[in-house]
Symmetry: none
Subunit: 417 residues, 2 copies
């Protein structure tokens, strides 16, 4: 039998529409991927009585509830109090947590404000999920409802803290409680170059074959500049059985769309490009215009990127393109400008591979080119090419798509070169 | 007395995280702007029993419920059935609606599929909100709960259809029922430089004063590299009264924390810096190391930034710092390196203002400096300073905080210079 875990998102700003609750959607996806049902998800404001009332209601139907938000240090962070009320337990300060939090402040040469002590309050009987990033720890709180033990999990509303605790502590705890020894394993194929509906068409008959028992489920997850993900999820007695299923069906899927699969699971286009360069002993430099620095920012988000990435020149002003990158007079959004930028930055920064991006993010057109226009230059040992692309979306989206599109061209050049 | 209208978003895909429910957030904002409280917002899947159960629950506390989604023509669009169940009314086909829908198809030279007849089903006693765009009409359904008349509004999940019906039919109906003309207006002060708990302490007695009637509510919204927001929300008879309240209390709040308030409402640190430079006729160039291009990316995310931002040099490799920016040999994370980078990029790119960032994003230390170390150089007409900061967080967060921190130092330099 599979567990039911509903979700309660806490925060008045969520009800007022000042922030859109994306946490519960992410949690719902994670739970589904691990065979846990989530049938009701609720948003409630910063009010002890209402938070407690919603917890009570959800716990009558669900085996578990994940509460996100309301664990901050301020007067309107009330999730701890509400859970204690539902448990009928006292809140007691945990000195170990106080120590951890004060150490975090000490590291920044600051004293811990008194308010943060509130984050060390733990309902008697609850277990603590240690914090790795923020100051708020998570909580695992057993609750007795009509003689049945149920559980409330509390995690911060800050997405990266929430995600870390769900993966590290809550999913394993739920799996243990479910008692089901069925194993669920997912594998993600990351693609770039086809729309969701296009992908759907190309995989049409594979999807039909997947409709039987003992076969994985397949889902598309549009993930912006992380590509369009194809997720296969297998459920079986052992992880070996799951992997056997996944290997078979990954091969079937790849047979249809291998040309646009660039990575699996946690690989990103930037990690792929950095790994390929590292393996070939090649350094990389980037000349950016339309993206304003986004490509370098994305590459350097990965620890160890300094082994490959030498740097970039963001030539936003036209004369900077000419003075610093040696771009000749004329339109700066076009094939020759892109090629000159790639060569220029490669020489300037003494790199093996030069990548350039020039285009129009919009809203207005430029050099008679419409918003969405992108030229990408890639020059290195054995290759010297310029690609032209037309990207959809408003300014921010177009710039993000430009990053994965450009790095995708570097990947192709390295594969071919 | 102000009405309470809760929200129910219907769709299994919302629970699975395949689509993020942004409808209820938008509805919550609209309701608040018209003085209607929305205290609980729920997501539920495509299941008649569960939709009906959630409606029952919400109607026990709320005067009204807006249901969005589940009005499509397919077998898993079940909102109509669930509402009829809660009303204890029959569903009857409305020939007028059938005509409208078939006319819509006729316009596209197509016959109406039989499925669409389902969209003409109306619970006996309900009023219809005519459709202007999609094929699904909305519904206004009176429900008697313990002798009190309450109301369920049904609108499609398609955002533009939903928004049209809310504005055209539902808000006016709610205002009529409430008999109140209370208006709600919010104002956000954006701060950078204090932790949420630190801010809470500095505003402690203002918060106490705000506890009375006829005063705005105050909330903190931690928004990462968009700063820490202080939101004042006033409720009064007219928007003028609201603004008077907000003016008074904004002054009170500023009296305590004006040193760290950098903007209001939609202003960001980058828009502020760009505006200040533009107003002073100053151009800006950036030398980035630890942020890898993030500062330039952030600045150029704003249309029109090219009037101020000339570009940046991302000197990730040490020898690039030396060759391109003229940084002398020695540690590259430190005060003199930061100063040389700022001067170097200012000259190289011929800008009025030079900004530099060098630091350690982690996970490992560098030049004997721990992760979180940041040095910022700001040089321009009348100023030439280097700031040192210790930032919290893991790699990504530290880099994001570096951006707003560095731009904050530019703002201060321009204010002083």
């Amino acid at each position: 039998m599979s567990l039911r875990c509903d979700v309660l998102a806490v925060g008045t700003e969520l009800l007022l529409g000042q922030i859109i609750d994306s946490n519960s959607a992410w949690i719902g996806g994670e739970l589904a991927a691990h065979g846990v049902d989530s049938l009701v998800q609720v948003k409630v404001g910063d009010n002890v009585g209402r938070i407690a009332a919603q917890l009570q209601r959800l716990l009558t139907d669900a085996d578990a509830v994940i509460v996100t938000g309301g664990l901050g240090p301020t007067h309107d962070d009330l999730t701890r109090e509400a859970i204690a009320e539902v448990m009928g337990a006292e809140l007691v300060e945990d000195p170990a947590i106080v120590e951890v939090i004060s150490a975090m402040f000490a590291e920044r040469n600051r004293a811990m404000p008194d308010n943060n002590r509130r984050q060390a309050l733990v309902p008697v009987g609850a277990a603590v999920i240690s914090q790795t990033r923020g100051t708020a720890p998570g909580l695992i709180c057993p609750v007795l409802i009509d003689g049945t033990e149920k559980v409330v999990y509390a995690v911060p509303g800050v997405p990266h803290e929430m995600r870390d605790m769900i993966a590290r502590a809550i999913i394993p705890d739920l799996r243990r409680r479910s008692g089901s020894d069925a194993v669920i394993v997912s594998r993600v194929l990351r693609t770039w170059g086809a729309s969701e509906s296009g992908l759907n068409e190309r995989l049409d008959h594979v999807i039909t074959e997947l409709d039987g028992p003992g076969t994985p489920t397949l889902a598309f997850l549009a993930s912006g500049w992380n590509g369009l993900k194809v997720r296969l999820t297998a459920k079986a007695a052992t992880s070996d059985d799951c992997c056997a299923q996944l290997d078979h069906w990954e091969a079937r899927v790849r047979a249809e769309i291998d040309d646009i699969v660039f990575g699996t699971d946690d690989e990103t286009m930037e990690s792929i490009v950095l790994d390929m360069c590292r393996a070939r002993g090649l350094s990389l430099a980037v000349a950016e215009s339309v993206t304003g620095g986004l490509v370098g920012a994305r590459l350097t988000d990965i620890p160890g990127s300094s082994a490959v990435f030498r740097g970039s020149i963001v030539s936003y002003a036209t004369d900077v393109k000419q003075d610093l990158l040696g771009v000749s007079a004329g339109p700066v959004v076009g094939e020759s400008a892109a090629r000159e930028m790639a060569h220029g930055v490669r020489e300037r920064l003494g790199a093996d591979v030069g990548l350039s991006l020039t285009g129009v993010a919009g809203p207005d057109e430029q050099d008679g080119q419409p918003a969405g226009t992108l030229y990408v230059g890639v020059v290195g040992p054995g290759f010297d090419v310029v690609h032209h692309a037309r990207l959809p979306g408003h300014r921010e989206q177009m710039r993000q798509f430009s990053v994965i599109t450009a790095l995708g061209f570097v990947r192709r050049a390295l594969l071919a070169g």
